[in-house]
Amino acid sequence: MSVWTWLTLGGAAVLALAVVAELRRRLQTSAPGRRFFRHPTAALGLFVLAFFVTIALAAPVVAPYPPYYQIDIGHPNRPPSAQFLLGTDPFSRDVWSRLVYGARVSLGIGTLAMLVAATVGTAVGAVSGYFRRWVDATLMRLVDVGLAMPRIFVLLMAVALWEHIALWALVLLIGLTGWFGTSRLVRAEVLSLREREFVAAARALGAGAGRVIFRHVLPNAAAPIIVSGALGIGNMMLLEAGLSFLGLGVPSPAPSWGNMIADGWHKMAVAWWSSTFPGLAISLVVMALNAVGDALRDALDPRREAA
């Protein structure tokens, strides 16, 4: 069992390394690609992300035990060992296995919530910036309200009203309270892009508002949207972890990194491992996302073309 664990762990690391190396080789030919990898932490961040995505996708292969399986109820809280890579938790479940399955939930919720937020934020920002006047005034007041709302409080309230929250509802909730910043950003981009000559040229060709926005304006605003999305996933993940830690997010026994921390919390003094490792995983992924987001920002900024 433990040989297999080490083998899959190593395999995931090697695969992640290979992905980073291959990406690097392909992107070296383009200026943005070179700028991306010039960032000192970009490759490392990419590696961490690739690693966690790999184990999340290959969870059934990588995890030595099923995530709910209580191995030996009589002896919980076993320390990390050859058999239990990261020890077992107070319910006698293998922490490594739960971490692997938890990656699916945590990364999945973070990514999907970000997609929701990016979509809504982009749509609102584009409409606001393109049509200006009362449309803009109305939508931006709405955004002001959204930004002024204490988000965690709103989420807590909404979540508390549900008995057992479904994962899709959690994704929607986190996403729908997280698009305000993106919409501001996109609006600013669109406001300046709509004055560009090629937009006038497109309108002179007879293109309607939808066509102008989707084909001419937004593709030119892709870079900042992608960057803010990459940086935003981390935020979404932290939020999910926070909610789950409070027992309001992903319901036990399904593993998420947030509720794993919660499960191990009250035994912290005797079994530090069952909270620490999922906490470490979250920190690693969030830092990696920030590093990759920063590198993307530099890579996709055309003003750095000369550098």
Binding site: R133, E195, R196, E197, F198, A200, A201, A202, R203, A204, L205, G206, A207, G208, R211, R215, H216, P219, N220, A222
Partner: protein, 343 residues
């Protein structure tokens, strides 16, 4: 005279600027007509309202800050464009009236291939499939004289030179064979040899496709070769309008005179004053503060009291052709003997 293709009457386009500097009367009572198949040259210095006039015709003025004043008329084939629904207007843009913009470097979308951009109007107006549209784009590239069109169709704008991009712009504008092409300084950003090629190309395409062209430029040399008629603009108004030959032979407005004198000519020694090329003294005033009376009077060598007090209307200058063929906005027409510069 046949029914004009485009009739612009008393067009006024104002911009309300926020900084409190007042209203910029960028286009202030412009009237002209374009006949089917002809080339009308529109000439004037930077800032006189040429671009705003052409954008007004397609109703592309950014609102706010700009607006077209009520009372203005822009008729295309008898239909007033100013009262059309947005949908009807879109059906005309790019299909019946097309426009080429001043800056070939910035008028193409950097993230799409030139093929996609040329095909766009055909997809919008004729609902062509992408495959058919691509073939059409290749045909257009060939038509505007780009070598290797099959390969170039997949290139991005930044992979092309300025002259080639302007050809692409022309291709984009002409996909749907419009009846009127508005070319806003199509050659200003290009160097001289490329300029000549682009003008030649426009001439050839106009003959092949039988469209009318509004050729906007600040360079009288450009209109001399291509335009049938010329309208000279100054400070948001048309100050003189005449068939090209008549305008060059007998410029009547002092501003036209000045423009003509500043064109270097091959057939005559350059008119030199104090050892330098003749040019009009002073600058175009700001659109927020046009002078009272005749707007040219502060720069005019002949101006007298009446010019300062009263704005001249467009007066008929007679000459060949029907009345109204050659019109001039200048009081000199009423008092020709004043045409002697002040000492």
């Amino acid at each position: 005279m046949t029914e004009p293709l485009l009739r612009v009457r008393d067009l006024k386009t104002y911009f309300v600027t926020e900084q409190g500097s007042g209203t910029a009367r960028a286009v202030d009572g412009v009237s002209f007509e374009v006949q089917p198949g002809e080339t009308l040259g529109i000439v004037g210095e930077s800032g006189c309202g040429k671009t705003v006039t052409s954008l007004s015709i397609l109703r592309l003025i950014p609102e706010p800050p700009g607006h077209i004043r009520p009372g203005s008329v822009i008729e295309f084939e008898g239909r007033n464009l100013l009262t059309l629904e947005p949908r009807e207007l879109r059906a005309i843009r790019g299909n019946q009236i097309a426009m080429i913009f001043q800056e070939p470097m910035t008028s193409l979308n950097p993230v799409f291939t030139v093929g996609d951009q040329i095909a766009e109007a055909a997809i919008v107006h004729q609902g062509l499939s992408r495959r058919v549209a691509r073939t059409r784009a290749i045909d257009m590239l060939r038509l505007v004289g780009i070598a290797d069109p099959e390969e170039r169709v997949d290139h991005y704008p930044h992979q092309m030179s300025g002259g080639m991009r302007q050809r692409v712009m022309i291709g984009m504008a002409l996909v749907c064979h419009p009846k009127l092409l508005i070319a806003d300084e199509p050659t200003t950003a290009l160097d001289v040899t490329i300029q000549a090629q682009i003008l030649e190309l426009l001439d050839r395409l106009q003959a092949e496709l039988g469209m009318a062209v509004m050729l906007i430029t600040h360079d009288l040399g450009v209109v001399a070769g291509s335009a049938d008629r010329v309208a000279v603009m100054y400070a948001g108004q048309v100050v003189e309008q005449a068939p090209t030959a008549a305008l060059f032979a007998r410029p009547l407005h002092p501003y036209t005179e000045g423009l003509l004198a500043s064109v270097p000519r091959l057939d005559a020694p350059p008119a030199r004053e104090h050892g330098r090329l003749h040019s009009i003294p002073g600058q175009v005033p700001a659109a927020t503060a046009w002078p009272d009376g005749c707007r040219f009077h502060p720069r005019c060598p002949y101006a007298w009291e009446r010019c300062r007090a009263e704005m001249p209307p467009l007066l008929d200058a007679g000459g060949e052709g029907e009345p109204g063929t050659h019109t001039v906005r200048c009081w000199l027409l009423t008092e020709p003997r004043r045409r002697t510069p002040h000492p």
